[in-house]
Symmetry: C2
Subunit: 223 residues, 2 copies
Amino acid sequence: MPVKPEAPAEGVGAVDRALSILFAFEAGDAGLTLAELSRRTGLYKSTLLRLIASLERARMLVRPGAEARWRLGPALVGLGLRAQSGTTLLRELVPPVLRRLVAETGESASFYVREGEARLCLLREEGRHAARDQVPPGSLLPLYRGAAGHVLSGAADGLSVTIGERDPELAAIAAPVRGSQGLLLGALCLSGTATRLRDARYRAPLEEAVRREAAGLTALLGG
Amino acid sequence: MPVKPEAPAEGVGAVDRALSILFAFEAGDAGLTLAELSRRTGLYKSTLLRLIASLERARMLVRPGAEARWRLGPALVGLGLRAQSGTTLLRELVPPVLRRLVAETGESASFYVREGEARLCLLREEGRHAARDQVPPGSLLPLYRGAAGHVLSGAADGLSVTIGERDPELAAIAAPVRGSQGLLLGALCLSGTATRLRDARYRAPLEEAVRREAAGLTALLGG
DNA sequence: GGCTTCGTTCCGTCAGACAGAATATCGTTC
DNA sequence: GAACGATATTCTGTCTGACGGAACGAAGCC
């Protein structure tokens, strides 16, 4: 996901440029020359060399030999593992819960976390119905719409139900999952068509299942 | 391995500062506040906020909620995996070779790759002798000393043997491992005490084994 | 209410970073 | 060996991007 060096003025230009070098590398790149990096990033070679010096010192880039060719460095492996450890527990505990919710209700089950002014679909299990929403894990969705958004933005303190808010044909039920000291970790969510979920009698057991499983996760996670 | 923002003038200061933020995170940090990041990096909060804006846009940092608290972001996971893929094949093919070398000769077997003007011990299997050199994987060693260094610096075109060069009591035998188009990928190395390896009759089968296994790796790797 | 700490915004200053020219090196072709 | 094109490296004048740190508001504590 490369950054755009010409993005609106916020942040630091040199940092944006440096990071664009890292994102210039693609899977399978054994090593990129200065000329190739210049082509991929649009940066002058003198600029590249300055920025690369900082990235090399941090071992985010390494120059495997004497020739002018660079690869992504070991520091990124370390940071990547450290970045991942933050959600490792969630990635262990949440999928079984999602599968149980799908087995029990037939609707799609997701887990969302807040990311700035958006929400990220971290984990997902598809429901059994042919008609259902499509949200691949990794998607960023609006924070202020949809049941999970209400939960994550604090607009809803407990269970939230929205019908046709993000899309007129879809509806969702979400409940907060908390960690130690009441920290809001994410939102457990069931989603399906508005046609099905509008029916309060159909919906009642779904609400109860989301509430129960979210409370269970909260208990497991120290909330 | 945090960078030192006050390092000699090479590279770009703002980039060094930004990366120092990423390295400020430790394993187990659920999220760091602005004040805590300021303490750990020594940077002013206004400077931090500017730099963090760039890191957030690149999704190297994420702000999980409305409060001022950041975690390492998903882009680092992606870059970490991409960084790792470059040596994945080596990490699969080389360890069995190292184990065979140890089984056959009893001496310690290592695989080095060049990193700028140094060499990195990527992989290692300890030998059976009580007296042996200590080089944990991940170590950086001098490029211009030692048999593996001669190979990686191009000072030796084929097999290299050095006795007492890096340490008076140690000796090593190394051969190049090449990839497609003759690209030098690394050096396969046996090392032990100078006392043992100084004996040409003792050493001859070791040289043959290193040569043979390096040629085998080269064949596997497209050289 | 006062104090401390934190997070956010603002702005004058200047030195850090850039663009891009110049130079050196390398590889290829004849 | 010379010529050519491409690549890598070095250098420097310019100026604006980034910094430091003050000011301010909010939150928490006593």
